[in-house]
Amino acid sequence: MTPAGLEGVLRAEHLDAGYGSVQVLWDVSLEVRRGEVVALIGPNGAGKSTLLRVVSGLLRPRRGAVTFDGREITRRTPEEIVRLGIAHVPQGRRLFPDLTVAENLMLGAYARADRAQVAGDLDRVLALFPVLRERLALPAIQLSGGEQQMAALGRALMARPRLLLIDEPSLGLGPIVVQALMEVIGDLRRGGTSVLLVEQDVGVALAHADRGYVLETGRITLTDRAEALLGHAAIRAAYLGLAVGDVGRPGSQDR
């Protein structure tokens, strides 16, 4: 059913979505190909998180379609979408605060049918985030911000996703932790997992992405390869605080 090669793993087409009488997304189309990290950038309130909620089935779009592996998933429930291989790391980490780190991670595998392999996957997640191994028996609320973000990412990985939706991983974290998270995301991509990354820190996001989309007031205004976007005058001025001629290595310290 899924053609090989560059066929889009995820494709969103002409999405309109919103809450109540407020429309947030207007005719949004986007594609994440297999093994690609795609950054979704844009100002607060542009609709980035809303787009992720539509993809993971938490919000029904008013118009448009989402397909994954060529299969339409627009009207499916979040539970079905997880089973198809899309895991969502929500903004603000959303761990289960009173449950232990181990319980949080294991709950990530809740929807899986192949339970025999879950223990091995837990080992792999703990190898990605060794600090979590020492914290397994602690309630999640006692973790530091960086550790919580690692646990949230680890929990999503326990679902063995082929596409990861990550919402603002750098929120409230120091540059060293952000760097470590981005390296893990790079590892995942090399392992064949596609990533749709929503990120406020445009420098960080574009430095680690293949391609990027700019979402402004609910519309996609620009899309290109990540390096090209980093050099784009409007992006440099609006998000990186750099004038067109400025020399600077892209990254969080450039802001």
């Binding site: 997880v82 605060p97 294991m106 709950l107 929807a111």
Partner: protein, 317 residues
């Protein structure tokens, strides 16, 4: 099995053995008192499933108690069914009602859910007061049982069922899903946990126990009318007992029921007025000083003892 859960299990088994033998050596008054304690222990355990583990503050448990009581009464009186069969039907109908109402109400959260469940209970009270088959406002007299000790064992059965449910629930696959839903429903959903079926499971288990207690209560008291069984007091007592003992723990609600019922009995004997004041004051004190119940207080004290011991050992070096 940790030493702690093993200790608790052994304690519960010993308590059960004493409870089974109790009517042999205790007088009628004490057997009746214990029957009442079991009844509320079962209600508190039931509420703990939906209110404690799932975090949905149900105030309409009496709706299911009433359904159980009236179903049992009607089937015994009008269909001449034996008590056990009528009771089973009462429990089953309570579960059906919970599945139906739960499908609607469990989409609400927090206060809205609490008020809606209360409303559901009040609607049923009005219905019972106006149907010919229930005897309307003048109530219903059930056949009088030949012996009263069996009610002790029926109620003991419900409280054991409730405590077992409370012990098994958090260790089951469904229990983990319910914990995730309680902690953060949106996060649970993106992990592939569909909240509604699990919430209905907890709500229906709660209804089964309320319904069974209602059926036993009706035959035990031999008279029911709408305000007696569709009575919010059952829910409030179950909530306070659970909060006292420890919501989200297996034996906390039962412990809460034992403590409160015994204190309540002593205080009622001293003064009818005082016992209500006491009840209100206790609720306030609980929420201020031990919002997670006695189980948490005991655990915390254990923690303090361990901390002091560790401190002493450090200073010795």
């Amino acid at each position: 099995m940790t030493p702690r859960t093993f200790g608790l299990g052994a304690l519960a088994a010993a308590a059960l053995a004493v409870a089974v033998a109790f009517p042999v050596f205790a007088g009628g008054y004490y057997v009746r008192l214990a029957t009442g304690i079991f009844m509320f222990g079962a209600l508190a355990s039931a509420w703990n499933l939906i209110g404690g583990y799932t975090g949905y503050p149900d105030f309409g448990g009496a709706a299911f108690l009433g359904i159980g009581a009236y179903t049992t009464g009607i089937l015994m009186l009008r269909a001449h069914l034996p008590f056990a069969a009528a009771l089973l039907a009462g429990g089953a109908l309570a579960v059906l009602a919970a599945v139906g109402m739960g499908t609607l109400l469990l989409r609400l959260r927090g206060h809205y859910f609490a008020i809606a469940t209360l409303g559901f209970m009040l609607v049923l009270r009005q219905v019972a007061a106006n149907l010919p088959i229930t005897g309307g406002g003048s109530g219903m007299n059930l056949p009088i049982a030949s012996a009263f000790t069996p009610f002790y064992y029926w109620m003991l059965g419900t409280v054991v069922l409730g405590a077992l449910g409370g012990a098994i629930f958090p260790r089951s696959r469904a229990g983990y899903a319910i914990a995730a839903i309680r902690e953060n429903q949106d996060a649970a959903q993106v992990l592939g946990i569909e909240p509604l079926p699990y919430k209905i499971l907890a709500y229906a288990s709660n209804a089964l126990l309320f319904g069974a207690v209602g059926g036993i209560y009706a035959y035990w008291f031999t008279f029911i009318d709408p305000p007696t069984v569709f009575n919010i007091d059952f829910s409030i007592q179950a909530v306070v007992m659970t909060l006292l003992g420890g919501p989200g723990t297996a034996l906390g609600p039962v412990a809460g029921a034992i403590i409160l019922k015994i204190l309540d009995t002593i205080l009622t004997n001293i003064s009818l007025f005082l016992h209500n004041v006491f009840f209100g004051a206790l609720v306030c004190l609980l929420i201020i000083f031990a919002p997670r119940g006695l189980a948490e207080v005991l655990r915390r004290r254990g923690g303090i003892v361990r901390a002091i011991r560790a401190e002493l050992e450090d200073s010795r070096v």
